[in-house]
């Protein structure tokens, strides 16, 4: 006898907890409906971790929102298919019924822990109402359950956090709060949409470990949506690869990584930078596998550096009190020194707040700083806008977000021409020709010059940004997380282009990045920054192959490897937060003591802060 279709069937070990059949989701666009998820089939067993991987636009997030019934209304809707949770059909369930399912039987956490919590409500309230929404509990019980939920995600001093607001917590802690909220009612399924993408690697490792523990302790099945094949290899039991709304491959994690059936999976995996892949190679490697990456400049010949940085210090004042006097300071960069030689890529790596971007901005003279910086023989300290102008010809910058760094009201041709116009390098026909040449250089058709930025994809826009930077024939480009926002396949193309330009024009790059695998691939030398200081610098091969500073080691171990056989059964405990660089006025940074391990490989011996010990 069949039970009533609405009643949840009793769970059993072999019956899937979630079954999606032929899911088709449409988004209304001005040009008619667009199918974003097309005939998706998914099966999720109890306690299983299923990773949905794919690049942007693959429909993986839309699939998750469809399951949750959280599609942005009224633009998006489920056009066909069935979603069964514990045997109960969710499509076509009314909003009130669906509300009872959400948060209780199936929960979701999102990519941005910074924006996913309400800034004006306390943590205690936000977690508490997730419980209240599904259970009627008294006030005392609610507090107890809320504290328990926070403790379950290993938030220290949980009781004290109840009164805190989201902005008082770090990114990692906020994501823990999100997980606490999602898990508070003991759902059978947790959907995590890029839960660690916005977090630093060491924090990412903590969150992934937490998710594994929760799965083990509560038997929650997890759908983990990610673009990061390292995270997939680390976490998944089974993998679903999506591309343009369609499922292209579905299988156990080992099979997908080692015997991918679909051509798309093979391309995707091939494009993933693998940390340690170039351990026995000096200098950068083209991702396409072609030879011709620029050889490392010979340190013995000692050409004049393009940039010399000595004792660079950047501090920001925090004011307060009646007279707005300086009460504390952010020690963003503390006594950083390095040289950057022609044709060389020096990578600055570190986690958020370590001062790597600030160093880049100081190099461009965009912020006040102390110390000495020489760009191509000109000391830039204290140079005004006008005096800095000739120097800017030699040093250009490419930013992280190719969407925000191009003025939407200018054609891309004008955008690329603008720096040359400002510097009076060319005009009229000549300027036109130069712009066309730059477009060809970055492998875009010159005919696209009259279009506007929104007509281009992320990768194309980043090429346009590079073309704009190249217009002044700079000797040095500061690339601040320039490929971080791009999908791996596009990322590989842009990195390739950057290396090609380096080989042709002898460009130097200051490559600022948090992505250790990308850094390994592109750089000649690496400088690891921690708390505003360089703690280790040297040839890429030396720093990655024989890391000496505890923080460098910690960073390298925290990176998930895109190889399911190399999975760490349980992560080395990477506890602790990234410390704050805000210090009292009388704070004097302890002096650094350096040791030259081998020629050019220099390590800070002055005792890493205890948090870095690992």
């Amino acid at each position: 006898m069949r039970p009533h279709p609405d009643a949840p069937e009793p769970p059993s070990a072999d019956r899937p907890v979630l079954e999606v059949r032929g899911l088709r989701t449409q988004v209304a666009t001005p040009t008619g409906p667009k199918v974003v998820v097309d005939g998706l089939d998914l099966t999720l067993a109890p306690g299983e971790v299923l990773c949905i991987a794919g690049e942007s636009g693959s429909g993986k997030s839309m699939a998750a929102l469809s399951i949750m019934g959280l599609l942005p209304r009224p633009m998006a809707r489920i056009a066909a298919g069935s979603i069964r949770l514990n045997g109960r059909e969710l499509t076509g369930l009314g909003e009130a019924r669906m509300r009872a399912v959400r948060g209780a039987e199936i929960s979701m956490i999102f990519q941005e822990p910074m924006t996913s919590l309400n800034p004006v409500l306390t943590i205690g309230r936000q977690v508490g109402e997730a419980i209240e929404a599904h259970r009627s509990v008294g006030r005392a019980d609610l507090t107890r359950l809320t504290v328990a939920a926070l403790e379950a995600v290993r938030i220290p001093e949980a009781a004290r956090r109840l009164k805190q607001y989201p902005h008082e917590l770090s990114g990692g802690m906020r994501q823990r709060v999100m997980i606490a909220m999602a898990m508070a009612c003991g759902p059978k399924v947790l959907i995590a949409d890029e839960p660690t993408t916005a977090l630093d690697v060491t924090i990412q490792a903590q969150i992934l470990e937490l998710m594994r523990d929760l799965r083990r302790d509560h038997g929650t099945a997890v759908i983990l949506i990610t673009h990061d094949m390292g995270v997939v290899a680390e976490m998944a039991d089974r993998v679903v690869i999506m591309n343009q709304g369609r499922l292209v491959e579905d299988g156990p994690v080992l099979d997908v990584f080692e015997r991918p059936r679909a051509a798309y999976t093979r391309t995707l995996l091939a494009a993933v930078p693998r940390l340690g892949a170039y351990a026995d190679i000096d200098g950068p490697v083209r991702s396409a596998g072609r030879s011709g990456a620029a050889p490392a400049p010979d340190p013995a010949r000692r050409p004049r550096p393009v940039a010399e940085v000595r004792d660079l210090t950047v501090r920001f004042d925090l004011t307060g009190g009646l007279l707005q006097r300086v009460v504390r300071r952010v020690h963003a960069v503390e006594g950083v020194s390095f040289d950057l030689f022609p044709g060389e890529t020096l990578a600055l790596v570190g986690e958020s707040g370590c001062g790597k971007s600030t160093t880049g901005k100081a190099l461009m003279n965009l912020i006040p700083w102390t110390g000495a910086i020489t760009i191509d023989g000109t000391a830039t300290h204290g140079l005004g806008r006008r005096a800095m102008r000739p120097v800017r010809r030699h040093i250009q910058m490419v930013f992280q977000d190719p969407f925000a760094s191009l003025d939407p009201r200018m054609t891309v041709g004008d955008l690329v021409a603008e720096p040359m116009r400002i510097h009076g390098l060319a005009r009229g026909r000549e300027l036109d020709d130069r712009v066309a040449e730059l477009f060809r250089r970055v492998r875009l058709e010159p005919d696209v010059r009259d279009r506007y930025p929104h007509e281009f994809s992320g990768g194309q826009r980043q090429r346009i940004c590079i073309a704009r930077a190249l217009g002044l024939s700079p000797r040095l480009i500061v690339a601040d997380e320039s490929v971080s926002a791009l999908d791996v396949s596009v990322q590989a193309q842009v990195l390739d282009l950057m290396q090609e330009l380096q080989a042709e024009m002898g460009l130097s790059y200051l490559f600022i990045s948090h992505d250790m695998a990308v850094v390994e691939q592109v750089s000649h030398r690496v400088a690891v920054m921690y708390m505003g200081r360089i703690v280790e610098i040297g040839r890429r091969r030396d720093v990655f192959g024989d890391p000496r500073h505890p923080y460098t080691r910690k960073l390298l171990t925290a990176v998930p490897r895109p190889d399911p056989r190399d999975r760490r059964d349980h992560f080395r405990r990477l506890e602790g937060e990234i410390p704050s660089p805000v210090q009292a006025l009388d704070y004097r940074p302890p002096p650094q003591r350096f040791d030259e391990v081998r020629p050019g490989h220099i390590v800070d011996l002055s005792g890493a802060p205890e948090q870095a010990g690992g």
Partner: protein, 306 residues
């Protein structure tokens, strides 16, 4: 917090000194001659000169301003040329009526503006939204003297629900405060709608839905406090808008506030009163803004007053 308020009050004093100076300069440059106004048309040149000397208007500008300034910082706003009364007393006598009118207007603004704004945002793109936005547009663009006279005609003359003019009971307050508030309500409605639409797109609203919260709770607890912040900041500025509004509204409804006082003074070039009312307006604007800034951190804990 205390340091913040103190600093803001010190800033306020500097602003008021600046306002007094600029107003004084403007009135000094105005071609109208107060002495002539007082003396009347038929007075001889000698009489006018006498009055001018009595009032000190024959002194050089800096002497006149210095005399006013030293008086002002002691709380002495001078005497009205025509009414022969202390300006401070005149204003003090009429201020309660004006504050009552403004208070009523703020209540209307928030009541109408916020609710219509929220409803319009939740019903975006529907006829409800369109109707409310047309209404708010009318509210913003209708001249206050037209609105006031229309309301008087319909509700006081035709229907007889409210008194035709004057001051005293709660019933007297309804129509003038509504007239004064309708402009702000239109603004708030539009601001609240766009602010609400913006907030409803935020990730934390999606989180709230993912938790399984109901719609009422999502709107009132998660969206409203975030959406109301820009409106709070607006209230401070609004007090300034009121000052021009009350001149019209008080005249239409015969409301005995400082708006009427100002109107009479402007007609007769009674400079001390004009100066006094201007300074009181400036104080109101400064305090209104300070109040709005002080309320904000209670709604958004990220705002720190330093």
């Amino acid at each position: 917090m205390a340091a913040y308020i103190l600093r803001r009050l010190i800033q306020a004093v500097l602003i008021l000194i600046g306002v007094s100076f600029v107003t004084f300069v403007l009135l000094y440059l105005v071609p109208a001659d107060p002495a002539r106004q007082i003396a009347g048309r038929s007075a001889t040149a000698e009489t006018v000169a006498n009055i001018r000397a009595q009032l000190g208007l024959d002194q050089p500008f800096y002497v006149q301003y210095w005399r006013y300034f030293t008086g002002m910082i002691q709380g002495d706003l001078g005497r009205s040329y025509l009414q022969k009364t202390e300006v401070a007393e005149l204003i003090a006598a009429r201020l309660p009526a004006t504050l009552q009118l403004m208070g009523g207007a703020i209540v209307w603004e928030l009541l109408l503006g916020l609710t219509t704004g929220i409803v319009a945002a939740l019903k975006r793109g529907t006829w409800v939204d369109n109707t409310l936005m047309v209404a708010s547009f009318i509210g913003v663009s209708a001249p206050q003297f037209v609105v006031g006279i229309l309301l008087l005609y319909v509700f006081a003359v035709l229907l007889g629900w409210f008194p035709i003019g004057g001051y005293g009971t709660f019933a007297h307050l309804i129509l003038p405060s509504f007239t004064l508030g309708i402009l702000g309500a239109g603004w708030y409605s539009r601001m609240m709608r766009s602010s609400m639409l913006d907030v409803l797109r935020q990730d934390y609203i999606r989180t709230a839905r993912a938790k399984g919260l109901d719609r009422v709770r999502i709107v009132l607890r998660h969206a409203l406090p975030n959406a109301v912040l820009p409106v709070i900041a607006m209230i401070g500025i609004d007090v300034g808008l009121f000052m021009s509004g009350i001149v019209v509204v008080e005249s239409v409804f015969g409301w005995p506030g400082i708006g009427q006082l100002a109107w009479q003074a402007i007609q007769r070039v009674d400079i001390p009163i004009i100066m006094g009312v201007t300074l009181v307006s400036a104080v109101a604007i400064v305090l209104g803004n300070l109040l709005a800034d002080l309320i904000a951190p209670f709604i958004d804990p990220r705002i720190k007053l330093r």
